[in-house]
Symmetry: T
Subunit: 69 residues, 12 copies
């Protein structure tokens, strides 16, 4: 990493099944328009409830990617 | 949400299988006595260890629900 | 817990499949050299990305164990 | 305050006009069922956007009240 | 703890003598109406001053208790 | 929110009159180039002083918006 | 700001009408004895309740001022 | 508190016997030069060790006092 | 301290009587196997409740000690 | 600053020589595509180790810039 | 430190060359009017940018000094 | 990093010249007894003052290293 500069963006992904799936969805969306995605950091896990059960998970994360030279 | 007031309570659910299951258990317990459960926010993930492996996960979360009019 | 003193160490485990699996890997590694592992507390969830998807999860946790008398 | 025990609950009030109005709405709702409301502490200010403008403010606060003897 | 759901409430106890006494007062007040009190976590220590000396300590704490099945 | 991915950006708006007006100014600026603005979260309130009075408020906030499909 | 040293002090102002008015009151009090007040940072918003409504707002803030050369 | 402005200063008191005694020492020192001391908030408890035992406690606290009119 | 390197470890001590006693117990346990213990920092105070009263205090602290040359 | 809206982005710069150099590298990279860079705030300092010495420093910072009118 | 009471003040120093130089400038300014300066704690590192490069560093720190007996 | 478990320890290094030098001193001390040192994270920068100037910097950091297989 010694020669590069990285940018971090903050995303919120969601999923009806798991925290990991919500992370994957957010990263997949970022990968559509950004190259060189390198790492992520989870900031917050929350979600919506309906009928007394989890309806979906919402995971906010920072995604770091290398800036193009 | 513009006309309502919400209350948040803090719960700790547990599960031998996953973080998501511990969340579901806490919400299911809250749903027995409270209506209008709306969202949750994970505060802390911890757990007990026995015999060198996770025995169960303990997830603390805030649960928000709409106050009755 | 009233008569004991506990020590906490900080570990980072990783897994290609889930947050829970990364926790288990860290605890299993600690159990090789330490007895009386008692509880864990998750500090941070992050991970590496390759080809626009999660490559592996990295979970940092504190592990508490009872000091030998 | 020297002889009393206080309980704090967490509420989220909302308002289309101001942060102060959202606080007042939350406290007014609490006052319907609780006596001896004594103080509040603002935890978070957020809100919903529609058509490129604030639709309403949402203010989370702790409200402290003296427990009945 | 593996099969239970716990609720945490936030209390502020006070005492003219010590931090520990303020904690005991808050827990004693909670025990009047709640069963299965299990643990507490200190959140904040503050107090009032009069005549250039501590008049009383105010200790805010979370108290966790098991929900009835 | 269950099928979408959201991005959050951080803005600082300012106003000579109020905290709410500074929030509105930041959101209005974001709405010029971004669609689907959905919510905001206040991070910090500060401001400049001149002649012993508030000259203007500066409010930093995160603004969340839905990514285009 | 490049050649100066600044000091920050912490104040709590109050007002029956608004958060902004409490900020102004604190700054006006500081301006009576200090010159070169330059900026403020809000640390905490709380207040007292009486008769089920906000009695007054209390806003804690840091105020920065340039030290005299 | 509705008409006043308060200032907070940060002090560190110490004591060989207890946390409470360290708080009292800090407040007593402040009372020598300041009037209208009103409340304190504990920020940090630490201390020095010598010969494998606590030598003295060091308690950092904010002390709030009303500004003279 | 200018020529040394220090290591900090995290311990949890407990006591049925006071916060200070729990700190002393943790430090005494550390002193059995470590030399040059120099200072401690309290991280968390919590405890267990039984029969509606504090059963014992649990205090987590960092203990710093000088590394041997 | 009273009439403008600012955006903050988060960058990570690196350098083999110093924290300041890592900050400069991140800002220089941002300046290639953004105008009106105005201030930065350091969020985190970390780095990689190789052969028992610092290989390079990694500094994460927020960079604020004025939005074009 | 066992018999003394310390006060901490918060300062912001600046420098065009380095973080360390900004710290030194703040401490030198404090030393003009205060005796017994004992230690400092860095709170925040930020700075101003001009022409796409750091113009100067701004370092906020707490400075602790012993109160006169 | 996908197959390994890492441990983090906390160290405080010091230096009369710079923050970077204090970091290097801490890492060099750790490298005497530990292999596979991989990264560090700065937690706190503070220092001692004598004669109105910085006497030495003290930097606390976490150092992560791979556990032996």
């Amino acid at each position: 990493m010694s020669d590069h500069v990285y940018k971090k963006i903050e995303l919120t992904g969601s999923s009806k099944t798991s925290v990991e799936d919500a992370i994957q969805n957010a990263i997949a969306a970022a990968a559509k328009s950004l190259q060189h995605l390198d790492w992520f950091e989870v900031l917050e896990v929350r979600g919506d409830i309906s009928n007394g059960a989890v309806d979906h998970y919402q995971v906010s994360l920072k995604v770091g990617f290398r800036l193009n030279d």
